[in-house]
Symmetry: C2
Subunit: 239 residues, 2 copies
Amino acid sequence: MSGKHNQIADNLIQDILTGHYHPSERLPSERDLAARYAASRSVVREAMKTLQQIGLIDVQPGGARVRDVDDASLDVISHLLARGHVPDVILIDQIMAVVDKLICMAAEESLELASDEELDYIRTLVRPMMEDDLSQEQHAVARFAVMKAMIKSSHNLPLRLISRTLFEQVEPAKTNLYPYVVIDIDNYRVLAEKLDTSLKQRDVDLMQVTYQKISELNRDTMLRALKAARADIGPEATS
Amino acid sequence: MSGKHNQIADNLIQDILTGHYHPSERLPSERDLAARYAASRSVVREAMKTLQQIGLIDVQPGGARVRDVDDASLDVISHLLARGHVPDVILIDQIMAVVDKLICMAAEESLELASDEELDYIRTLVRPMMEDDLSQEQHAVARFAVMKAMIKSSHNLPLRLISRTLFEQVEPAKTNLYPYVVIDIDNYRVLAEKLDTSLKQRDVDLMQVTYQKISELNRDTMLRALKAARADIGPEATS
DNA sequence: CGACGTAATTGGTCAGACCATATTGGTCAG
DNA sequence: CTGACCAATATGGTCTGACCAATTACGTCG
């Protein structure tokens, strides 16, 4: 994320998200921002395009106005998560809850719509999770691969776009938490076997129940990692 | 959406979405695009920022490369829906399925987390739907208000951002379909009463069942409207 | 105090220049 | 013929400065 226009955009985004400017308030003019960042006005304008697309500002002749974060686009999530060494616990949990609900939906649609080949492919991805010899990180990679394959085989574009956007924004935060993640391998193994059965038999009810349990396990695991990270790093340390 | 840079962005987006450029292929250079659109290069650059933020291209020294639509951001939806007088039936149905799942999730979270005041407010919004005297459009407005209030009272930011993004992008397409929408008012009235009960008693199971039925009704209504629009306008007419 | 007009400010666009990085095409050796 | 290397060209990133359209701010008048 180099480039002067990207750096200016990041900086303005953080200013807005930390409350330096309030909704409806006007940002400094492009000329003033160009002077502040020792840049040309065209570079500032490019940065402003990014902020506008993210939904944080509304650029109009007469000045750019700040909008409410609640009205931003989903792409604002990564910027919210980038505030502090330990990401916002509530936000991460909410994201995981949403992602899991969407993947559960994708799984159901896959059982109804996907080809046998597609389901078999997902089953090959589930198989390693039914064994004991995965490291914590390999296990995470396997879970991710299963999720992605389920989304893909649902052939539901909005689902795919949302989950991909969320994954991509959450991944840096999650990667930072890997040292604190402890996976209950046995429990996941049992659930992986049920998952495999539901795929083999296209059993929607079993899939729902199983995925619900996987979701709960995912979230518990992450909450524990976040708590451990807070205890280790401290809640308010900022980068 | 005026402004030269926005018009250029729109035009390039449609070119990409209609397959004029393929994933990994390089777009024409900024200088070539500036000549083509009789614009300055800085305006073309601003248009390109928009495309990059939407996730349709990857701008690098040496040229901008087209990315797969499946890897775009959620903001691409409105551009997909803007292709043709009658929006893509499958895409609209998928969006509605996703929105309804998310609102159902929001409703459940609201029953658990929202204040009594918040739930009472939602009930005042549900009340008009329990009566007979709403026009089709008033009914749509009422349903929308209920949905928005539930999302807000769930206090779940990712949910809010996703659904707001989807609403905002689908709304123009839905507005065009209003002449074709026929609401089953009686059925909605019965479901509105159940919804009210579930809110009053914070009954999560009743809420789930009820909202599932409301979702089905919403989708059936929309699919019928889309079919009527296709029969009236024709499937391939383009704007 | 509110309405109106004018001046100043702000965004939108333009032209042209220079630098850093990537691409392309030609040549040479194995 | 193929792969490696190099130079020329093309492309994006940024800059300066100018002009026009739209908005904002301020002063005056009723």
